[in-house]
Symmetry: C2
Subunit: 432 residues, 2 copies
């Protein structure tokens, strides 16, 4: 906050504060937008405005410039909002955890950070009140890159609690960055969850006109109401338009683009279903029906697990320390799951030390198979196991869960080789 | 080699040796195939035959079984082969490095390992002698997961040498597992190489009828002859059929499936060109024409570089040791390039220690951008740099090259932010 003295006084005099909608006339041009906090890198006579399109502009204020307040910011007062309940509509709980979907412009840096509550988001979706009774809960307010194992556990407990409390479905608002990891974690923790548990995110924050938040939430709610399907899913745009939404299996989905709204893809399988803009659902594979059982959360996780990508030139001596300290090691190898012959003695050492070493492929698509080439056979002899077409990220999450929910490493290996939540193909050709 | 005494004597008596084509009548069934070495896990009275389809079968030999030798193996005598040269045809040097494309069944384990020479491969491509004068060189015979920085250097020197010795093009036979990494390495090392340097591999070994080796080599040779384009490329199947072959830029290509013949994809760009089964070339973007300059190989590489994938729960204390020891660190972050706030102090510590930390995205597609969210801005403040839409693997290779070919880390960072071999988009919006 380092406006020049004169500009500072001027803003105070006209009552302009952060979030005020201003018009600024500067050198003949008029700029209209919400006042952002002063940027540390800007000069003292520059105001930063967020234009209605979502972009920020820095406007230099001269002696002859004219600044007017057009509108003052409306302060949110929606904590503990009471939403009218309609008889006969399904009860959906919206749990917000943060992420872009729950974000507004950040008034510290001009960037975006999580702030919106689930109830504010529910308000953005006009259809919501017609098709469901929504309760909105704010569990976390973090970007998903900061999601950690405890957050997964907290979230799984919350979801099971809501279901056992009468929720017909739970929609989780989550940052897109690690949504695949969290969806996999909840898939294992919640097992045969009897209701739909749907993750939804956005690639553009809700304060931008181009935001995909409302359409994604709408699609998620429609799937909860009309899908009749239990399980952990991710619902996101399937195309660049607003006309198609894919329902991905929680253990099979990966963010495959940094910014596109259709960034999420099912890998090594097809999406469970696709919804069009009218909410019509086309199922692509058989799905587990909704049931009336209670939900259970098996949230124990072994933290001592690492995920490593093999690359040419990888120096085993650099990785030895962490591998010998870790109870579980997931390697995304090349091709069918290979590493260099230099790495194999270290794999053997880790296995001999009691670690479980799970091999996946950095190709992402296709199955691993360590029986085709010498390298692979040597890796199997060293003690590594493969998990067919499981994603590296899903294998990492599952290995934490398998180690914590088994008596010994042999049982953990068997759990890894057994499909639990559609995370791998069902054919039992795993070369353990 | 542990046949039973009686079977061992029988095989010796009829002159059956490894590679002999046998017919074996066992319990009324007749099996015909090449004799494989005895498998350590097989019983002493079982012979392993490779059937004509490429599959191995273990056949139990009973007292009443009849074994006949149908054909003895032809021993290869093609070392130093002299191929008739035709006036006016371009000179293409085929350098073999190993990999599936140069592999036969492995007589130790029944798996596949590199054995064929480049000249044997040239012989598989009937068209070759009509369109080019081929010289075949065997440089290495390794699987590509064992490719190391020295191999890249040796290969770059060999390619430059062949070009300066009169080669109109160089085709490199390479394993598919790390072909993308090696192609990126040669792209940086050879800079504006004046001729086509084309990597080609196979997903099925040449002794299998379904091998993609001959068609891929044919497409590579055709592109060398008719493409008129200089640079480092990868030529592989573009579809599951034998009717379309993509020419990928060496720095932009990634193996995206463990086993399919169309596993290779250009990421964040389109292939340079596509060839159909007749060899007709359709260019999708402008390409650098062939020139008459000499080739130069700038092969210096800084070995102290690591590639790490960020994942939720990543424990900075486990990675601190290797990060403080490494001069270059490439992180494939989530989404736009993020890591958790727990990792950021470690990035700062590594940067303060003189390391270059380069951020890419595990999404693979799309651009990194650390200016959108708080996390990213904090990463930039810590000293990390981003490289737009460069692949993590390409960034790893380039960082080794940039650190070795610059005076200091600042120059290395500038090199990282400057497109050298089409490895990143050209817009200078890199947030260094």
């Amino acid at each position: 906050m380092s406006y020049s003295v004169s500009l500072s006084k001027l803003l105070e005099k006209i009552g302009a504060k952060e979030g005020s909608k201003l018009s600024v006339v500067s050198k003949g041009n008029t700029y209209t937008g919400r006042l952002m906090p002063h940027h540390d890198f800007s000069d003292g006579d520059v105001v930063v405005l967020k234009l209605s399109g979502g972009y920020n502009v820095g406007v230099r204020v001269y002696e002859d410039s004219v600044i007017k307040v057009l509108e003052q910011p409306v302060l949110s007062s929606k904590k503990g909002i009471v939403i009218e309940r309609k008889e006969g509509l399904p009860n959906v709980v919206l749990i917000s955890t943060g992420g872009t979907i729950a974000s507004n412009a950040d008034y510290r840096t001009g960037a975006v950070r999580p702030a919106l509550s689930a109830s504010e988001l529910a308000d953005m979706v006009p259809e919501a009140k017609e098709i469901v009774n929504i309760s909105a809960k704010a569990l976390l307010s973090i970007f998903s890159e900061n999601m950690n194992v405890e957050h997964w556990q907290e979230l799984a407990e919350a979801v099971a609690g809501e279901i056992n409390n009468g929720a017909d479905a739970v929609v989780i608002l989550h940052g897109t960055d690690t949504m695949g990891y969290t969806a996999a974690a909840l898939s294992f923790m919640l097992g045969n969850v009897p209701k739909p548990v749907v993750f939804v995110g956005a690639q553009r924050s809700p304060d931008r006109p181009s935001s995909d938040a409302p359409t994604n939430i709408t699609a998620a709610l429609r799937f909860c109401v009309k899908g009749g399907t239990a399980g952990v899913f991710v619902v996101m745009h399937d195309t660049l338009g607003d006309d198609s939404f894919a329902v991905h299996t929680g253990t099979r989905v990966r963010k495959m683009h940094t910014s596109r709204r259709d960034a999420f893809e099912s890998i090594n399988t097809v999406p469970v279903a696709v919804l069009n803009e009218k909410g019509e659902i086309r199922f692509a594979k058989e799905a587990r029906p909704i049931a009336s059982e209670k939900a259970a959360a098996r949230t124990k996780m072994e933290r001592s697990v690492i995920l490593l990508q093999y690359y040419p030139g990888m120096d085993p001596s650099l990785f030895e320390g962490m591998m010998m300290k870790s109870k579980g090691i997931v390697i995304s190898g090349t091709g069918l799951g290979h590493v260099s012959e230099r790495m194999i003695p270290l794999i053997k050492k880790a296995c001999d030390n009691g670690s479980v070493v799970v091999v996946t492929s950095q190709c992402l698509s296709g199955r691993t198979n360590l029986n085709v080439y010498d390298t692979g056979r040597d890796m199997l002899s060293a003690g590594a196991i493969t998990v067919l077409d499981m994603l590296p990220e899903t294998a990492y999450v599952k290995l934490m869960w398998a180690l914590a929910n088994s008596k010994n490493t042999e049982e953990a290996k068997r759990l890894m080789a057994t499909p639990i939540s559609e995370e791998m193909s069902d054919r039992r050709t795993v070369d353990v």
